[in-house]
């Protein structure tokens, strides 16, 4: 980019926003809403900043122009501190950051796992707001058990095709969402209106399974990848992936099928805060 353009873009300092509303989604999973014009696209993320506790990337689970939401699971010091927050508490927010999903596809399936369902639901709502027929959107959501399913009601209201899987069979299909994905692709193919895009966001091994199905069935796909991030703006290199050094914070988090195929560590390992490789446990 030219320096002139860089100067025109200016600098983005974090904003400090009061929490407008908190919604309990499931055990240790809450959505925090902020009244703010974020101007985000589905798949982008924000950095949530809490003094002394740090700065962590969080996905954006909704943004209607007037208000945006981020769905957070209490798993570490910062996210657990977020679980204690009340409406009115001030939170530092930096973003939106990163590359969003493209929005391509005329008949799409969204596969969400855990709190990765947030960006998927956001994608559906944004596409419908832009004129996409909700019947052309399939939303597959899976969880271990009924209590952990996210955004079922929200997606029911959006009138998309809803497919639910729980590992224990407490709600919907008993099994994994990847089984449902195969079924949805198969049925669409037989009905003469095949799916032309899969979007996915969730645990990496689930995403890898989705990617493998996309390759196997010749369906296009886009994946929201998660990597340890420190700066979120493409400087520190914490989220660089092998072998080409793509930075997930700026070249991602959303990557297309061709890019995902080239990331050799996808589904194999990620790196911790010090940069050491951590291999995924399969099975």
């Amino acid at each position: 980019m030219t320096l002139q353009k860089a100067m025109e873009m200016g600098v983005a300092t974090p904003v400090k926003l009061p929490i407008a509303k908190i919604v309990d989604e499931a055990k240790d999973i809450k959505t925090f809403f902020f009244t703010h014009l974020l101007k985000s696209e589905p798949g982008q993320f924000i950095m949530v900043i809490l003094p002394k506790l740090g700065m962590r990337p969080m996905s954006i689970s909704s943004d209607n122009g007037a208000e945006f939401g981020t769905t957070i699971c209490g798993v570490g010091p910062l996210s657990n501190a977020m679980m204690e927050k009340k409406p009115g508490d001030i939170i530092g927010i930096r973003g939106p950051l990163g590359k969003p999903f493209s929005g391509r596809g005329n008949h799409v399936v969204l596969v969400g796992g855990g709190y990765g369902s947030g960006p998927m639901a956001f994608w559906a709502e944004r596409a419908i707001a832009r004129g996409m027929d909700s019947k052309k959107i399939h939303y597959i959501v899976g969880a271990r058990t009924k209590e952990l399913l996210l955004f079922e009601e929200r997606m029911r209201r959006a009138k998309v095709n809803l497919h639910i899987a729980t590992n224990d069979g407490s709600h919907g299909y008993k099994g994994f969402n990847i089984d449902l994905l195969r079924q949805v692709i198969e049925e669409a193919k037989h009905s003469g209106n095949p799916l032309d895009m899969i979007y996915t966001c969730g645990p990496e091994l689930m995403e890898k399974a989705v990617f493998d199905v996309a390759v196997e069935t010749g369906t296009d796909c886009e994946i929201s990848m998660e990597r340890y991030m420190k700066c979120g703006i493409g400087i520190c290199g914490s989220c660089a992936v092998d072998p080409d050094g793509l930075l997930i914070c700026v070249d991602g988090p959303c990557v297309n099928k061709e890019t995902a195929a080239k990331i050799t560590e996808f589904g194999a390992y990620h790196r911790d805060a010090s940069g050491q490789k951590v291999y995924y446990k399969k099975g």
Binding site: T13, I233, C236, S238
Partner: protein, 305 residues
């Protein structure tokens, strides 16, 4: 036709631009990406004996026009894994890859130099000047000539690979430190590390970085860096890697005219993207054509009259 190829400390460079240590370069893949994008060489992020997670929280903030402040706190994989990263990366490129070591004690600098030499880097940059780990390690070695010389001697004792001592602007007289490390056996100096600074959010009356202070880079650092290169070039004969605020081809030539034989690039990757190297290379060629220079070497130190 202006030729950007040059050499420094026995390293052949197709461009004088070098990926500065600490920018995107935790892994070998990032070093290779810089080379693919037009860098002549690339320096890995500082490696310590043990893995480090670095500072938590708000660690980098861009500010004003084209400047930046950071306090990463030296996150890295530790020496054991860094050796593998460098070996694997070097298999995939002919361009020189440069190690960078950081330690809290003179002895550990020696240990790191010995260990990292196993990866056969083209050069070892010695980071004695990180401004962001005072709490942990006290005043950096770069603050005083004697301390800097001590580290230099210890590193030289432990490796036969050329070393470049990375100096700091956070000292009373950088040229005195430069002279001391040259006398102690340094093959090269890198001028300079970031300048200690602070940003305060006036709404909350709290410093913006979680480390409170950080190191300034980008445009705000450039005149400081150019003077440091100039002052050091006056007093040492060893080559200088000029680093600090290089965002354009003009900036790179300014460093070279001050006395730099090669030029580090870091913050430009944020403001101009990963393609910063190819953009700056093209701008250097353009400026050299305009000014009538054909090679990098003929411009080194031209500002000294």
């Amino acid at each position: 036709m202006a030729d950007l190829s040059t050499s420094i400390c026995g390293m052949k460079l197709r461009s004088p631009l070098i990926l500065a240590s600490g920018i995107t370069d935790t892994t070998g893949a990032s070093l290779l990406r810089a080379i693919r994008n037009g860098a002549g060489a690339a320096i890995i992020k500082s490696v310590s004996v043990e893995p480090r997670e670095g500072h938590k929280g708000h660690v980098v903030q861009e500010f004003d026009d084209l400047s930046m402040i950071n306090a990463m706190g030296l996150p890295n994989q530790g020496i054991k894994h860094a050796i593998d990263e460098l070996i694997e990366a070097q298999k995939r490129t002919d361009a020189p890859l440069i190690a960078n070591i950081y330690a809290g004690t003179v002895e550990d600098f020696g240990l790191l130099a010995r260990e990292i030499s196993k990866a056969k880097p083209a050069m070892i940059e010695v980071n004695i000047s990180c401004p962001n780990v005072h709490d942990e390690f006290g005043t950096p070695f770069s603050a005083l000539p004697e301390a800097a010389a001590k580290v230099t001697k210890e590193v030289k004792k432990n490796t036969s690979i050329p070393i470049s001592i990375k100096l700091s602007p956070n000292t009373i007289a950088i040229s005195q430190v430069a002279k001391a490390v040259e006398k102690a056996g340094a093959d090269c100096i890198t001028c300079i590390n970031t300048l200690a600074g602070m940003l305060i959010d006036i709404d909350t009356a709290v410093p913006i970085l979680s480390n409170l202070s950080g190191g300034i880079s980008g445009k705000a650092l450039k005149p400081v860096a150019v003077k440091a290169v100039y002052d050091c070039h006056e007093v040492v004969k060893i080559p200088i890697i000029g680093t600090g605020g290089v965002l354009t081809g003009r900036d790179a030539i300014e460093h070279i005219m001050a006395g730099a034989g090669a030029v580090g690039v870091g913050t430009a990757l944020f403001y101009r993207g990963q393609e910063a190297f190819s953009l700056i290379n093209a701008e250097m060629k353009e400026e050299m054509k305009r000014l009538g220079y054909k090679s990098i070497k003929e411009m080194i130190g031209l500002a000294h009259h």
